[in-house]
């Protein structure tokens, strides 16, 4: 993974010293809250419903075991012993004291981490495929390009005060696991260069991104992004926060006209001054080598025997592992969705266990997925059972990846000051309703995504089943969306039926799933495929109790 150079160290050290001074001045009353608020937000510190929340950037979701242990240390020392992994591949701590933040940022800097670009109207942490560099279907590794964008965008003076926040996602595989079509800019690496999608996003006004350029050379990536951002920065609306995202500009201009303006702007730029030289790209790529793979003898027959003897292990291998570029390895997803617990949360002890697992079995590397799970990208098949047992002993062996209980859920009104309704208790209820492993396996791949408000941090627009919490005069209601997906066939879900109370949602989903199981052609037809074949209306009636 990338290692800070002298410039990275100097920037983070200087920023931390600056923020330490700002915190001291705020505590002494030399800064008002109005003056301090934008400063703390630029350092990832929010004031939420119950306390300060610190959001820490995990650049493109890549973590070392040492960094994960630092998260455990922060959870134990400064928080209430847990952290929440987010849909932006970051981590949030919900119970941080203002006076502790300078020390926390110093602790983070010691492991080359920070909380910069996790708030504000800047270019946020670039997200990518959690299996980058490991997946069998990968065309090119997106991590060096995400790192290049990180270096270009951090403290970019022109793009620090954009009309609104700006999110870039990259995928380098044939399957889109980074949800690129619902990002401000989505980049698809192909064997001919980058396909550039612009104007995607969720929130109040969801849009799918439009393809505005194909085959963009990696060596021209930064100047093209600069042109795209410059057009947005110049013409994006600043008069209405709800219309300030680039998706509104692209929609208003039309994708072709926006693309034309970007090309025009691009032609005026001194591209050589912006684009990274070939040697610099090569230098960054050198930080992302394949690990020194251990040649461990793998006995397929022995693995089959172990699976036959341990049904839990067999299910975990089936659901939580993904084909690796090497036949003797797999990528393992550690589900943070155990039955009845909040999606994405991990205790400090579990963070330490995951770090230990990475050191013992995965060359010291972990990833955070936007589905709020943790990934060990490179695990020798010969180590799978030992890894499983370690995880199982620590409540980390839920074998539900990609299944109905592997839900995305934002923190919702239990923590978030923007939320209208709670997400976590609903996720817990659904998880308990579908706790039966045989049933969830029978249902197959199904993504439920829950947001506690229209800002859509829980990605409800692109859930096969999306759930949006709303407040109706002091009562929580939940709208159900069907048919969304965030993959290479991205589609926005559509609200189906009337809003339901929290108590009614699990039973409604049960009826919906029962109907799906009756209607599907066979067990290979996934829920989203059946909805696509028959239409959402075929399922609307099941959401409500028969009269």
């Amino acid at each position: 993974m990338y290692v800070y150079d002298q410039f990275d160290h100097a920037m983070v050290t200087a920023r931390n010293a600056e923020f330490k001074d700002q915190v001291e001045r705020r505590l002494k009353g030399e800064l008002s809250e109005d003056q301090f608020k934008p400063l703390r937000l630029m350092n990832g510190l929010y004031l939420q419903l119950h306390a300060y929340m610190l959001r820490i950037a995990v650049p493109y979701g890549v973590l070392s075991s040492r960094q994960m242990r630092t998260f455990a240390h922060i959870a134990r020392t400064y928080d209430r012993d847990f952290g929440h992994f987010t849909t932006r591949q970051n981590i949030q701590f919900n119970w941080i004291k203002l006076a502790d933040t300078p020390q926390i940022l110093e602790d983070l800097a010691a492991v080359e981490m920070h909380a910069i670009q996790t708030s504000g109207n800047c270019i946020r942490n670039t997200t990518t495929d959690q299996f980058a560099g490991a997946a069998k279907d990968e065309i090119d590794d997106p991590r060096p390009w995400a790192e290049l964008i990180r270096q270009w965008s951090t403290f970019h003076p022109e793009f620090t005060f954009l009309p609104r926040k700006f999110k870039i996602a990259i995928t380098g595989a044939t399957r889109d696991r980074a949800a690129i079509r619902v990002h401000d800019i989505g980049l698809q690496l192909t064997d001919k260069g980058f396909d550039v999608y612009v104007g995607g996003g969720m929130g109040r006004t969801p849009h799918l991104g439009h393809l505005i350029k194909s085959g963009l050379s990696g060596e021209k990536l930064l100047s093209y992004l600069e042109a795209a951002l410059r057009v947005y920065n110049r013409y994006g609306r600043r008069d209405n926060i709800y219309k300030a995202r680039i998706k509104i500009l692209v929609s208003a201009l039309g994708p072709q006209e926006y693309a034309r303006q970007v090309e025009e702007e691009w032609a005026t730029l001194d591209q050589a001054q912006i684009d990274a030289p070939h040697a610099e790209i090569a230098r960054i790529k050198s930080f992302f080598p394949q690990p020194a793979y251990a040649d461990k003898a793998f006995d397929a027959a022995a693995l089959d025997r172990t699976k036959a003897a341990d049904a839990g292990f067999a299910r975990w291998v089936r659901n939580n592992t993904l084909a690796h570029r090497r036949d003797d390895h797999v990528s393992v997803t550690i589900s943070l969705k155990p039955t009845g617990l909040p999606p994405g949360d991990a205790s400090s002890a579990q963070m330490d266990v995951m770090a230990d697992a990475a050191d013992r079995f995965a060359y010291g590397e972990l990833r955070v997925s936007h589905e709020q799970n943790i990934i060990l990208p490179h695990v020798a098949k010969a180590d799978l059972y030992d890894l499983y047992r370690l995880l199982d002993q620590n409540g980390l062996s839920s074998a539900n990846v990609g299944k109905i209980t592997d839900m995305i859920a934002c923190p919702g009104l239990d923590y978030c000051s923007l939320a209208n309704a709670r997400s976590i208790p609903l996720a817990q209820d659904i998880s308990q309703r579908f706790a039966d492993a045989e049933l969830t396996d029978k249902i197959g791949d199904l993504q439920i995504k829950i947001s506690g408000c229209i800002n859509a941090c829980g990605h409800h627009h692109v859930g096969h089943i999306g759930i949006l919490g709303v407040d109706k005069q002091g009562e929580e209601f939940y709208q159900i969306l069907l048919g969304g997906r965030a993959d290479e066939q991205a589609a926005l879900g559509v609200i189906t039926g009337k809003g339901l109370s929290a108590e009614a949602v699990p039973a409604a989903l049960e009826r919906l799933i029962k109907l799906y199981l009756e209607l599907r052609t066979d067990e290979t037809e996934r829920f989203i495929d059946t909805v696509g074949r028959l239409g959402r209306d075929a399922f609307a009636g099941a959401l409500h109790e028969p009269a």
């Binding site: 939420q48 419903l49 119950h50 909040p342 949360d345 009104l413 309704a421 002091g474």
Partner: protein
């Protein structure tokens, strides 16, 4: 009738005004919050808005009666008063104050 609430500057925790001239008069336990008449509540709000080294973002929570929140404020203020309803810290507040839910 209203409650005055805010977050403490130093740690961001939810506080409720419970009488007295300084921060020691505030409580983390919503059950102990002073029920204020509207006029007194408005005056206290203005006073505490200016005391930014002690509390952040003070505001008033309307009540129907001494123990009933106005319905449109219900979920948000119920969660603020009782702590997260889910997860590792659910019901910390109730445990800390050795009481059941308020409002």
């Amino acid at each position: 009738m209203k409650l005055l609430t805010a977050n403490r500057l130093t740690d961001g925790l939810v506080l409720w005004y419970a009488g007295g001239p300084d921060l020691s008069g505030w409580t983390e336990d919503a059950a102990l919050a002073t029920r204020l008449e509207d006029e007194a509540a408005a005056a206290l709000l203005e006073e505490w808005k200016a005391r930014e080294t002690e509390v952040v973002a003070p505001y008033l929570v309307p009540l129907v009666d001494e123990n009933t929140l106005v319905k449109r404020e219900y979920v948000r203020e119920h969660v603020r008063a009782n702590g997260p309803t889910a997860g590792q810290t659910a019901f910390d507040t109730a445990r800390q104050h050795q009481r059941g839910e308020v409002f």
